[in-house]
């Protein structure tokens, strides 16, 4: 039997006495694009934090390519092929765009903690960093410090750092947060382009983005997945309409597509 790229089994997380994630089950096939939607405070970001190892779950299992990862540190999970981006831009502000990306490729190329090699001599790392820089359209800003980029550029760099390690499972936490409409649509194309062949999970608020990007949608409400299906099926799901979209919004979406 082939295992899922990512599988959550009865995952739970409590903060004190408050249950934030209340028994989530989810199985994602390799190469699928999943959008996770849900109202504010439903636990979408917490779910990402659990999967990526930022928090440990209270109970339940997380399997990455069939291997249990729920008690591993973020860097161990990353080395197993899972990478994530952040809702609030999380880059290396005092390093240049190029250095940001080069740092992100170093581990995957096996350079580890070496201090016996010069960075300038690492042709594979430099080529790869240049490649990703071109992919996220920041090659003209190569030597600019990340803190001096525009917001949209920083968001692109955030994605760049996330994918540069070559992980096969990518989690994007609201990649288009705070962007204008035109920027968003350009950005979605960029995300599609750079995640070809990868398993993608993304938290998203913009419904246009969700229906344009995802193969499947998982709806999270109060720490539970109440629906996990194709966009069409989710849209017509009565439970989802009631709990999250609201009938009016659903009609709008149905009419708009």
């Amino acid at each position: 039997m082939m295992s899922y790229a990512l599988e959550l089994k009865d995952l739970r997380k409590n903060f004190g006495k408050t249950e934030i994630i209340r028994g989530v089950n989810l199985a994602v096939n390799a190469g699928e694009r999943i959008a996770i939607i849900g109202p504010n405070g439903a636990g979408k970001s917490t779910l990402f934090n659990l999967i990526s190892g930022r928090f440990g779950p209270s109970s339940g299992q997380i399997l990455l390519n069939g291997q249990r990862i729920e008690n591993k540190a973020p860097y161990e999970i990353n080395r197993l092929g899972l990478s994530r981006s952040f809702q609030i831009t999380n880059i290396f502000p005092k390093l240049s765009v190029f250095e940001n990306l080069r740092c992100a490729v170093l581990w995957s190329l096996g350079y580890k903690y070496t201090f016996l090699k010069f960075l300038s001599g690492l042709k594979d790392a430099n080529d790869l960093a240049e490649k990703y820089m071109a992919m996220i359209r920041l090659d003209k800003k190569r030597d600019l410090l990340a803190m001096n980029l525009t917001y949209a550029e920083q968001r692109a760099l955030e994605i760049g750092i996330t994918i540069a390690g070559g992980s096969n499972v990518i989690l994007l936490d609201e990649p288009t947060a705070g962007m204008s409409r035109s920027e968003t649509s350009r950005f979605i194309n960029l995300i599609k382009e750079v995640t070809v062949g990868k398993t993608l999970l993304t938290v998203e608020h913009d419904m246009g983005v969700v229906f344009g990007l995802a193969d499947k949608i998982a709806v999270v409400v109060y720490g539970e997945v109440i629906a996990f299906d194709t966009p069409e099926a989710v849209r017509s799901n009565a439970k989802v309409q009631e709990a999250y979209l609201g009938s009016q919004l659903a009609d709008e979406q149905a009419g708009g597509h």
Binding site: Y75, R79, N90, L122, D127
Partner: protein, 428 residues
């Protein structure tokens, strides 16, 4: 796609390193007095120590309050090794003793750094403080190793001499220190160009994100800490050879504070900043302390103003002005600079006169109420002297504020012009 172009021959870099070597070689030929000889030797030692400290502070964002633990223990191990050579139980050449100090630094950094680098930020700073106190307390307890009040002394003319070099004369020890300084500075610069060095910068900038690109931040800090410990130990070993005596003060909090203060003054954000810091450290400890009893107060004030107005240290001031100069705009501000310096100097004279009078009253009142300050006789209990000092200081401060505002306006204008110029060049 643009490919990475490796420059095989970097002229600028060769020039800078050659210049550095020439300065190290020629310095004792220009400054020939006894005092300057010992100061130059101490500068080399301080440069290595401050640069090694900056691996933690500037490159790794680790605020250590206990760096003297590693320089100091390096000193102690080196002086014991020297005494073993003198006693004939060891045959290590004296010129390699600083390396033994370096390995001691590595050893203690492996041992103590494991605890220290488990945390970052404020907890890290607290733990370094605790470790420093612990080691200092031990230095008073274990007099076999630390020598108690008297310390451990040695004689660097020991063992086999190579090519007739005994390291007896100051000039010989200076050149040994200069060679170590050059190699250590080069190695520490090289470190900044390696994967570990760069990831260390990333850990400084954003440790959380580093965890999500596959690196264990604790391990990165630990390795960097060990490397810093190595160079700190070398610096300590050189110190042991230079002074031929090591007392428990070398692991004390004052020494640790000195490294922090002068690395910061020199500038932690640029590689060469701590080199300036090291030079200043020796100037302050040797010259300023001769000049006035209140030197620590002046140093504290300087540190205070730097933290508030130039957090990048002297190195960043230099780089900012080089940038302005490279756009040919430095001539627009030199009048303002002159104004700033003159008014600041006036304010300093006024403040300095009062500080010196207070110190005189507290420490030298038995010598009468009169003291000489910059060629003027002041009466520490006279109204005239105090009123005059206050007047001079306030005048200086007032004019300084006027000059500062004028300067800020001009400086802002220049920055805007430079930004425009950069945009124009990009468009062209």
């Amino acid at each position: 796609m643009k490919t990475y172009q490796f420059k095989p021959y970097n002229v600028g870099r060769w020039l800078i390193w050659s210049l550095f070597a020439i300065v190290l070689i020629c310095a004792p030929l220009i400054f020939t007095s006894n005092l300057s000889g010992t100061m130059l030797a101490q500068m080399g030692i301080a440069i290595i120590a401050c640069l090694s400290y900056n691996i933690l502070l500037g490159q790794g964002g680790m605020l250590s309050f206990g760096h003297a633990v590693y320089t100091g223990l390096g000193s102690f191990v080196a002086i014991h090794a020297l005494n073993a050579v003198t006693a004939g139980t060891s045959h290590v050449p004296v010129s390699l003793l600083p390396l033994i100090g370096g390995f001691a630094g590595i050893g203690f950094a492996i041992l103590l750094g494991y605890v220290t680098t488990k945390k970052s930020g404020t907890p890290f700073a607290m733990i370094t403080l605790g470790v420093a106190e612990l080691v200092f307390a031990m230095s008073l307890m274990f007099s076999e190793f630390f020598g108690g009040e008297a310390g451990i002394s040695g004689n660097r003319v020991a063992g086999q001499t190579v090519w007739g070099i005994t390291f007896g004369p100051q000039i010989q020890i200076y050149y040994l220190i200069a060679i170590y300084t050059f190699i250590c500075v080069a190695l520490m610069y090289a470190f900044t160009q390696t994967p570990l060095g760069r990831v260390l910068n990333a850990v400084r900038d954003n440790p959380e994100r580093v965890e999500f690109i596959g690196y264990n931040t604790q391990r990165v800090r630990y390795f960097a800490f060990i490397i810093a410990g190595f160079f700190a130990g070398i610096s300590g070993g050189l110190g042991a050879l230079n002074f031929e005596i090591v007392t428990s003060e070398v692991v004390g909090a004052g020494r640790s504070g000195g490294y922090l203060l002068f690395t910061f003054l020199g500038g932690a954000t640029f590689f060469f900043g701590p080199i300036i810091g090291g030079v200043l450290m020796v100037l302050a400890f040797v010259l300023l302390s001769e000049l006035t009893k209140a030197w620590l107060l002046y140093l504290g004030l300087l540190f205070l103003f730097m933290v508030m107005y130039a957090p990048g240290g002297i190195a960043s001031l230099i780089m900012m002005n080089l940038r302005v100069a490279s756009f040919g705009k430095l001539k627009q501000v030199w009048v303002s600079y002159l104004g700033l310096f003159v008014t600041a100097f006036v304010a300093l004279i006024g403040a300095g006169a009062m500080i010196e009078m207070v110190y005189h009253l507290q420490l030298n009142s038995a010598l009468g109420n009169n003291l000489k300050f910059m060629g003027v006789v002041l009466n520490a209990k006279g109204v005239d002297s105090w009123v005059g000092s206050v007047f001079v200081m306030l005048t200086g401060l007032g004019l300084f504020e006027v000059a500062r505002r004028q300067f800020l306006v001009e400086w802002g204008d220049i920055q805007i012009e430079i930004e425009k110029e950069i945009k124009r060049r990009e468009a062209a």
